[in-house]
């Protein structure tokens, strides 16, 4: 039985490898039919072997074997390109052969692994690993491909000058006196760089943190400490809902609000506050689509629930002994909260804040209706810009009437790489903090 099951293991492994490769390339169309035939023979041999040596009739094996034979016949009959039923595409046969090879290779490998290891209960558990591991491997390979692609396409174009120059494309007329006559000469400033986008990302993160930190902590304290269960439930539901509803809904609300402000307070400071403004190269003031302050108000609606939840978790995790000790020596409830509970939950809050910052750095769905290329500088009252928006601009810039796509379109993977470094760095920092926290709880209890 060892020989036949080993044969089955090898052939089903081959089938799985070819199935995965068929997902990636079109050029392996000669192999699936022979492999399926071999798989059929191996499974039949395994079935007969089990029948002879163990006196068992394993119908499931012969069922899979029959499926293998049928699918080999189907693959042999199918043309190379499939189309019809008014379906919007021409499907290559390799996608079907990949599905069949993986779908039949996995059960075949499970069977052969089971009988190779002697069909014990432990072998049964081990034989289920191919089923669990294969899809995970495919997906992880896809993630690895994405990260590799970003590094391979982004890093070669990355240099120091790119990181410290702001993107600028401005044309204006300058009055020059020639022979006693005024003459207008067009002046062009054209720079390629990522500085304003990077600074804008940090500005957005900082403002969002400033706005959402007090509110998030307040919500967490109120829900945990003061609220009656029903009110707490309502607050918790609404802050969960803020995260769960689409970011685009927040964006369209922000757009309507900006619209209302623009109509009611045209040409006043409030309107500039909402729209954001900057100065062009020749000194004229330009208003944008929305300022950092206004955008971060709406981004912080996404971050508040994260901070609130982590504050609540931190307050909840305070060991009862510590709080009772504080109450026993006569501290008031408020004193306990500010001197015992909040310091205890500080690491939780910081973890939530860091995760929230990572969220704000990548939160494009809210700001992509109200950002610009960031040519006019980065301060809380200038037009919103961020790396995420810059990547968006590299693809849709022409549609939105700016020149980023023309001049910086080839740098989108560089921007993606910088953004990836920032967000993954923040996330890893939060993860490390979380793990340290888990250890602290063990020490306390």
């Amino acid at each position: 039985m060892k020989v036949t099951s080993f044969l089955g293991l090898v052939i089903s492994g081959l089938a799985m490898i070819f199935g995965c490769l068929s997902l990636a390339t079109n050029s392996l169309e000669a192999y699936p039919v022979p492999i399926l035939c071999a798989l059929f023979l191996a499974l039949t041999a395994l079935f007969i072997d089990i029948k002879l040596s163990r006196k068992e009739t394993k119908l499931s094996i012969i069922f899979v074997a029959a499926l293998t034979l049928i699918s080999a016949v189907i693959l042999r009959i199918l043309p190379l390109y499939l189309h019809g039923f008014n379906f919007n595409g021409v499907i290559h046969r390799s996608i079907i052969s990949a599905i069949l090879l993986i779908g039949l290779g996995v059960p075949a490998m499970c069977f052969s692994l089971l009988y190779l290891l002697g069909a014990t209960p432990k072998a049964y558990d081990i034989s289920r690993y191919p089923l669990l591991v294969l899809p995970i491997c495919i997906v992880l390979a896809v993630y690895a491909m994405i990260i590799f692609k970003i590094i391979a396409a982004g890093v070669p174009r990355l240099n120091w000058a790119l990181l410290v120059t702001p993107f600028k494309y401005q044309i204006w007329d300058v009055e020059v006196w020639q022979n006693g006559w005024p003459n207008f000469v067009s002046k062009t400033v054209q720079q390629i760089g990522l500085l304003n986008s990077i600074l804008g990302t940090f500005m957005l993160m900082g403002l969002t943190a400033l706005i959402s930190l007090p509110i998030g902590i307040g919500v967490g304290i109120f829900v945990h400490q003061y609220a009656r269960p029903k009110l707490g439930g309502v607050i918790r539901f609404s802050s969960t809902a803020l995260r769960a509803i689409s970011g685009i809904i927040l964006a369209i609300t922000a757009l309507s609000l900006a619209h209302v402000v623009n109509n009611a307070f045209h040409d006043t400071f409030l309107n500039y506050l909402v729209q954001g403004f900057g100065y062009y190269g020749n000194g004229t003031m330009l208003t944008g689509r929305s300022s950092f302050l206004f955008a971060s108000l709406f981004v912080s609606l996404l971050v508040i629930p994260v901070i609130a939840r982590s504050t609540e978790e931190g307050l909840k995790s305070l060991p009862k002994d510590i709080m009772e000790g504080s109450l026993a020596v006569g501290a008031s409830e408020e004193h306990t909260l500010t001197h015992i509970s909040l310091p205890w939950s500080l690491p939780n809050i910081v973890t939530g804040l860091v995760l929230g910052c990572a969220e704000a750095a990548g939160a494009l769905s809210i700001i992509f209706l109200m950002s610009g290329a960031g040519e006019l500088g980065v301060n809380p009252l200038s037009e919103t810009t961020s790396l995420a928006y810059f990547i968006f601009d590299c693809r849709f810039g022409t549609q939105m009437g700016d020149v980023v796509e023309t001049y910086m379109g080839s740098y989108q993977y560089t921007a993606a790489f910088v953004l990836l470094v920032i967000t993954i760095g923040l996330t890893v920092a939060a993860l490390i903090m979380k793990n340290k926290l888990a250890k602290r709880y063990k020490g306390a209890c």
Partner: protein, 322 residues
Amino acid sequence: MQKDIIFKKRKSRWSGLKIVAFILAFIPILALSGIIMSLVLNSRVAIHTAGWSLLSDTYKPGFQGSYGLLGAVWGTFLITLVAIIIATPVSLFLAVLANDFSIGFLSAIIRWTLGVLSGIPPIIFAAMAPVFFELFIWPKFAGKGLSEPALLKMAPYSALPLDGSTLLGGILLALLIIPFLAPLFDDAIKNVSHTLKEASFSLGANRWHTLMNVTLPSAISGISSAIMMGILTAMGESVIVAFAVGFKLDSIPTPLFDILKRTAPLTTVIVGFSAGGFTPISNGPLLFSIGNFAGLMLLLVAFTILGISTYLQNRFKKRLIS
């Protein structure tokens, strides 16, 4: 219990901290009601002008035209379906591998990997859409190897997936929600009480049978509420969809499950309508208002799903306590 008794006796007074926390705690409620009010107020024009034609199939703008959003609703359904079908088994396998089937450091490695992957923002996946198209969709679904005359003979040649399709968007969305879904599944499976599992082991069941017959059935409400959250995330995502499907509203595809067509979902239709030139005025007040109406529809669906998910979670908690 003891904590409650202590706090009941000293009834909390209105100190300054409590007032501040009270005011701050109402900001989420205010924001949510403000959003709902803004959507309702702004969609008045659409309901008044277009009326029931908002819920029809075809989109033909113009005088007394029909502004049907049904295609967008179907697009949302399709793209969410593709994403969930791809993401759920993989996330479930990851969660199982991190819990019951872990060997050595495997569970720690899986959790760290998921943590790191969850830090990838959606725009990165969105920027990958052309790469995925070039490497996967074009060779497999668009007849790359066929010659021009052979392609011309085929009926749907004019409608081949040019650079975006629901399938592409669904795959990228699945990549986005796997790191989000897997920890939720992980929690659901981890919270199954040990006594149940040990009873199963003591009766002689192996790990696989315990998983299939004890762990997964008792984690089912946690798992289904996690899937609901995944559906919400996939449904509300707009950046990936913008890159992979596009902004243009279309009617329902003719074979109903034609995932190789561009069927823009509600999120990008909102963007396309309310901000065609990316300013509210450029498309006119009617289309802006229709965008708001689409947002209202999305919000209603999201609230329904959120309600179901909250109900399931509460049931889950009750079962754990009992």
